[in-house]
């Protein structure tokens, strides 16, 4: 898959400032396991995922998962509330670009996204060759704006 744009710079598209080349990445499309009840999605904080854009159904986006369901996120500017608890079955995704808040359109614009929108996890970069290799998302330090938490499964959901 090709990755364009600068929202994940400098993690992806490292040459964004100097060239027009786009990174190509290998995406793991395997559906997340259904077995694990908690963390049902099998997604982890820090993982880089590809998902359908909530605002444009024909567009895909690449972002990093900042918070999982139940976590409390200190939001950034365009978001209407100062803090947000990520609901059940949702994740909070953000871009990487350090320059400013407006560099990336992410959960601060459209809120937490349903896990069902996630297409797959970015596992490796294969182009350009110079920096080809596995994506080391584990190196991500975690965000100081996230308080880890738990949420109840919405039991009402099963009544109807």
């Amino acid at each position: 898959m090709r990755v364009g744009g600068r929202s994940m710079y400098p993690f992806l598209n490292t040459d964004y400032a100097t060239s027009l080349s786009e990174d190509r990445v290998w995406v793991d499309l395997r559906p997340p396991s259904r077995k694990t009840a908690r963390r049902e999605s099998g997604l982890k904080r820090g993982e880089v995922v590809v998902f359908w854009s909530p605002s444009n159904p024909e567009h895909m986006a690449v972002k990093r998962i900042i918070a999982l369901e139940g976590d409390i996120v200190e939001t950034r500017r365009p978001y209407p509330f100062r803090e947000e608890t990520v609901p059940w079955g949702h994740v909070w995704v953000e871009g990487e670009h350090p320059e400013g808040e407006r560099a990336s359109v992410d959960s601060n614009n459209y809120g937490p996204i349903p896990v069902a929108l996630v297409i797959g996890k970015v596992k490796a970069v294969y182009w350009p060759w110079k920096k080809a290799g596995w994506v080391r998302w584990q190196d991500w330090k975690g965000s100081s704006r996230v308080r880890e938490g738990k949420t109840m499964e919405p039991i009402e959901m099963y009544t109807f």
Binding site: W52, S53, P54, G89
Partner: protein, 177 residues
């Protein structure tokens, strides 16, 4: 063994045919039509509580060509491994009632009794079950991204006595506005 070669060829031909059939079925179900069984009271009386089978048209996936009044099959916003079937009440930009219509909760009360009109964000749709009182829908989990739409429900095919096309009962009234 002279006879083993034809047997191997035979097996390989059969395996190839089976593979092709599987691929064809997969693509047909992914991009043309899919048949799913449903449960739950939320779409009564259009779809009954148990063991109905519905025909889903996949060219409408990701909300392509969906209009107000269509019944869509979606991935569930809260339960990622499940699905749901609901009726589209508003598309992006439309104004919808956020809560249950007042007349259902408390008869004779007017609109301003705690209910609110909101605008559906671009690229989303507002979904409500036909059985308004027994449905968990957009009133519970908010507007649903169109990318979650798997397809449009075009027919009910299982209880043999009730086989029919699923009609869009809202189009006539909405087109004027």
């Amino acid at each position: 063994m002279p006879s083993s070669k034809p047997l191997l060829t035979h097996l390989r031909t059969n395996a190839l045919t089976a593979l092709k059939a599987l691929c064809f079925i997969h693509f047909f179900r992914e991009y043309a039509f899919d048949i799913r069984s449903t449960y739950g009271p939320s779409m009564l009386p259009t779809i009954s509580v148990q063991s109905d089978r519905i025909l889903i048209a996949k060219p409408f996936r990701r909300g392509r060509g969906i209009t107000t009044g269509d019944i869509v099959s979606i991935r569930h916003p809260l339960l990622p491994s499940e699905g749901a079937v609901k009726r589209v009440v508003g598309m992006g930009g439309d104004f919808v009632l956020r809560d249950t219509p007042a007349s259902l909760d408390t008869p004779h009360s007017s609109l301003d009794s705690g209910t609110m009109m909101i605008q559906v964000p671009e690229g989303h749709c507002w979904l409500i079950g036909d059985n308004v009182e027994a449905s968990r829908d957009s009133r519970f989990y908010g507007p649903v991204p169109l990318a979650m739409v798997k397809g449009k429900v075009v027919a009910r095919i299982k209880p043999w006595g009730r086989v029919e096309w699923v009609e869009n009962s809202l189009t006539g009234r909405v087109d004027g506005g």
